[in-house]
Symmetry: C2
Subunit: 234 residues, 2 copies
Amino acid sequence: MAKRKYSYPWPRPAVTVDIALFTVAGALQNLRLRVLLIERGEQPFRGAWALPGGFVRQDEDLQAAALRELQEETGIAQVFLEQVGAVGTPGRDPRGHVVTVLYVGLVAGDRHQLASQGDAAAVRWFDLAAGVSLPPLAFDHALLLRQALAHLRRRLDEAPALCAELLPERFTLSELQALAEAIAGQRLDRRNFRRKVKETPDLLRRAEGSRREGRHRPAQLYRFVSPPDQAPAP
Amino acid sequence: MAKRKYSYPWPRPAVTVDIALFTVAGALQNLRLRVLLIERGEQPFRGAWALPGGFVRQDEDLQAAALRELQEETGIAQVFLEQVGAVGTPGRDPRGHVVTVLYVGLVAGDRHQLASQGDAAAVRWFDLAAGVSLPPLAFDHALLLRQALAHLRRRLDEAPALCAELLPERFTLSELQALAEAIAGQRLDRRNFRRKVKETPDLLRRAEGSRREGRHRPAQLYRFVSPPDQAPAP
DNA sequence: TCAAAAGTGTTAGTGATACACCCATGC
DNA sequence: GCATGGGTGTATCACTAACACTTTTGA
């Protein structure tokens, strides 16, 4: 812990974290990208929808603060978050000068129970397809949401294994592709997609000879070689 | 300005900005990347070298704070800064919990007069070639410096016109290439480099037929089509 | 035998890399 | 005329994007 040998008592901006957590829902043929929003239970913007988030505590790591706020307001825990950046434009928060550090994450919606607590009057996933409109968001959260989504898409292009949490342990290539399409917001060519993921080193492994019945031809199952939260076996 | 209708009086982390400002110096054949450091005039880490930076004031924009601190501590003003990200690990500052937003910039060293003021006892450019070692840096600034340099290299690869401030208004392609090599930290193929920059739309324009004498064959002069701080003419 | 998804290869274009020679000038 | 840096073009490779047919199964 910090030692406080020196002190700087001047007025200072407050620090918050906000979290743009995405998931994907729906039938394979029609997966939709969704974002997690809370209905604010406190002023300012009481009753408006917003990204989950809140104040960073003394001696709390930024990422830890983001995880804590997410847990407190939505019940979701144990997710992987990445930092997008910091925003501190004066006037973005009516309470005064607030600097926000924005995080983004991606989870399987149906593996997490939503439970609004703390400052959140309600929690819900909102569809994010092109053309579907969200409710007006509190603060500058519409801007933060756009930044987070752009960041997520860039990152998934570099590292497709970040999807791992969204799929069952064993999955078909069609499932993986549907997921990639939902997040990228566009259709992908099946042959090119399969070639690309199969040729990526240390990404996929055929799951033990087993298959899964569609209501027609069964598909080969795969699994990720190294789940992102475990070290790969040497 | 913010209205302060609500208040959050809890203890909060402090917010600072740090700036990793780079330049390039030396003869064309031997340009060296350099970083601007200050010698701290105050505790903690008094006497140690560090990135310029300091506390963000109430109702001050992050980028504005970075520009102000840079001006106050080093005398350098009117530069273009980009945000790299935020770091808030507890214990990174002995004064207590401090969240730092890191900025990176690139300037022509010989166009700016250095003048240490405020918390800085001295200001100097430090060579950053591979193998040359910097003095030990205060706080976690060695880490921040690595992050900033990686960010700068990524960005310049995408947007070579960010070099514009480093060159005279008219410059030769060899000068531009020497600059790119110094920043990237590696040699580049002359033909490929020239083809790439010439084929980049709206980047370069031949300067009015004029030439400049080398001590041998003169080289064609170029200029950037749109200096980054001006809008391009339609 | 049909419907529905799984599975598979080739071609064309584009951008990156590697590489060698002639040109213009000052001395 | 020679040393010095300025200037150019081509072959190869890797990656991307476009594209159509056969296979397997349940009903």
